[in-house]
């Protein structure tokens, strides 16, 4: 039971399985009866006020320890009342209350730089306890978020690794990169479609350009469009978002220009259907059956409609290559498509297809990032086994 509370505090649900018939459920017995008292409740103790850290200013946190009559003693306290004034001896106004059992109040209506005094009183429904006053304090904005140091370190290290290996690749160092089946199949998928005289269909996912998977999909589309231009195979790109349609038209036009065939670029092949998830799925399904593409690419962010598209695509007999970083949809692509790029492989596609040394270099940087994460996990687990959880605490981002 203790473990469940501990983990719950960290906000992660991680519990060993309880066999149903032996877990014991704690019931809280009813409220104990409280007689009406004439004496005022005991005051809260050590009232502290301090500037709310890591904010844009305008916030002060008032905290106190519970009154002797809260949950113990005469148990008469029902709430705490918080008063504020700019001078220590008069002008106090009630600015908020906190129920019994809560010992913290955030005053988010303060003017930066003005000194405030805070007073907290326990209240039992009739009488107030003595007033206990805090030190004077002023709120101010911070220039650096101290709770996010671990994130800053992570960003700096990984960015350095990626850029370091990009620079090394610039000097033309040979780099081994393991084969990825899905990406090697791109060439023969386009080739096969051309032999059969069938078009290629490229589906860029259903999210907009505010998701990195869709941006990566536009980059991959550029590579696929170049190959389609060389093979003179029609390329159909049904889009679920207007901006994605514009970006796709831009990318494909550039690709046809690079391949030296600007005239065979046909903007009507890159069309907008609807923003609706299932309206888009219905439209693309119909398009697939009518156009019978030889090869279908699913690159980008997909949700539940992934299997609707992939199963229909399979029934048309096309080669299907999928790539997404949505863990929930990978099982459906793995079962319904011929090749699937799993998560990180989607982002490595542009480096693979272009064979540009700079891009391949960044993959090596990513590998070093993985090595660091593995080392952190091993060290962290060993520490945790011996009861030290500082590493986990340090990684907690504020």
């Amino acid at each position: 039971m203790l473990l469940i509370f501990l983990v719950l505090v960290k906000g992660i649900i991680f519990y060993p399985i309880d066999t149903p018939h032996d877990n014991n459920l704690a019931f809280n017995i009813g409220e104990s009866i409280v007689e009406v008292e004439s004496i005022a409740p005991a005051p809260p103790t050590n009232v502290v006020a301090k500037d709310k850290p890591n904010d844009a200013g305008g916030g002060i946190i008032v905290s106190w320890t519970k009154s002797a009559d809260d949950g113990a003693g005469r148990e008469s306290v029902i709430e705490y009342q918080i008063f504020r004034s700019t001078s220590p001896d008069e002008g106090f106004e009630l600015i908020g209350t906190a129920n019994k059992g809560f010992y913290r109040f955030v005053d988010s209506a303060t003017k930066d730089g003005t000194k405030y005094f805070y007073v907290v009183k326990a209240f039992d429904g009739m009488l107030h306890s003595q007033a206990v006053m805090s030190e004077a304090v002023a709120s101010r904005a911070q220039w650096f978020h101290t709770g996010r140091i671990s994130m800053l370190v992570a960003v700096l290290i990984i960015s350095f690794l990626v850029l370091w290996f990009i620079r090394k690749a610039k000097r033309g160092e040979e780099l081994y990169i393991r084969p990825i089946a899905g990406l090697e199949a791109v060439d023969d998928a386009v080739g096969r479609a051309t032999e059969m005289g069938k078009p290629i269909m490229y589906i860029p996912g259903i999210l907009d350009m505010d998701d990195i998977q869709t941006i990566a999909s536009m980059i991959i589309l550029g590579r696929v469009a170049r190959k389609a231009a060389e093979y003179e195979t029609p390329l159909l790109v049904p889009c679920c978002r207007s901006i994605v349609m514009s970006a796709a038209q831009e990318t494909v036009k550039e690709a046809y220009l690079d391949a030296g065939r600007p005239d065979s670029y046909d903007a009507d092949k890159i069309r907008y259907l609807t923003d609706d998830q299932f309206g888009y799925a219905a439209g693309v399904d119909g398009l697939m059956i009518r156009e019978t593409p030889g090869a279908i690419f699913y690159m980008g962010a997909f949700y539940a409609e992934s299997l609707i598209l992939a199963e229909t695509g399979h029934s048309t007999g096309a080669i299907q290559i999928a790539g997404t970083a949505m863990p929930s949809q990978l099982p459906f692509f793995v079962t319904a498509c011929d090749y699937t790029l799993i998560g990180e492989e989607l982002f490595a596609a542009s480096a693979y297809l272009s064979r540009e040394p700079l891009l391949l270099g960044s993959l090596k940087g990513q590998d070093f990032g993985k090595a660091i994460f593995i080392i952190i996990i091993i060290i962290g687990v060993i520490l945790a086994t011996f009861g030290f959880s500082e590493l986990a605490a340090w990684l907690t981002t504020g």
């Binding site: 399985i17 671990s150 505010d210 929930s328 079962t335 090596k364 994460f373 593995i374 981002t397």
Partner: protein, 218 residues
């Protein structure tokens, strides 16, 4: 009366979509085109009421916040694509969006996908309480609970190793990568099996609508 007409429309359209399973036929094509048209209009109207009015017309034209001229200009630049001569200017808003969300995604994915997941894995390898349960009443489930943490830690590490690009998956390293693939396959199989029930529920919901609301058979 209007209610029953609504139910009839809904039921017939449901059957049109269902007919797609047999083969692509005129009924499906009708429903497909109707659906694309209606849903495109739905989102256009939705964007107008929930984005254009509250986020642009209200702050800029009514409250006069000058700062909102920038998105207005970027938006108009986007529409310039309609005129080929000036179309290139649409690359500016596109560049703004791509840059903004490259930066935004870098932070959010690093935090939620990497740092938080790594932190969640830093747990004690031996979990005394569950080992005590296992010794107390040995059985499959209590044993599995006891080895739960080692399984997770090994699974995460070997899973990451599978994704290495710049090293050949051979020898010991290859062995780890192979174990990693096994964990991925268990994960894909499990989450596939887990969602089957939810998908069947959807079909139950639709059939219940046809049999209860439309045909009133149950």
């Amino acid at each position: 009366m209007i209610e029953t007409i609504g139910i009839w429309i809904a039921a017939l359209l449901t059957l049109c979509i269902l007919s797609f399973l047999y083969k692509e036929n005129p009924f499906y094509k009708f429903a497909e085109h109707l659906f694309v048209g209606v849903s495109a209009a739905y989102w256009a109207v939705y964007y107008y009421y929930n984005i254009l009015r509250p986020n642009l017309i209200q702050p800029l034209f009514i409250e006069g916040q000058i700062l909102f001229v920038i998105p207005l200009v970027l938006g108009i630049m986007m529409v310039m694509r309609l005129f080929p001569k000036v179309g290139w200017v649409s690359r500016w808003p596109l560049a703004f969006i791509v840059g903004t969300y490259a930066g935004y995604n870098l932070i959010t994915y690093l935090q939620s996908n990497a740092v938080d997941q790594v932190r969640a894995t830093l747990i004690s390898f031996i979990h005394l309480e569950s080992w005590g349960d296992f010794i107390g009443n040995p059985g499959v489930i209590t044993f599995l609970n006891a080895i739960a943490v080692p399984v997770v830690v090994v699974g995460v590490i070997t899973g990451i190793i599978y994704f290495f690009f710049s090293r050949e998956h051979k020898g010991v390293f290859g062995g780890f990568a192979k174990t990693g693939v096994w964990f991925l396959m268990i994960a894909f199989g499990a989450s596939f099996g887990y969602t089957v029930m939810a998908r069947i529920s959807l079909l139950i919901g639709r059939m219940y609508f046809l049999l209860h609301n439309w045909l009133r058979v149950i």
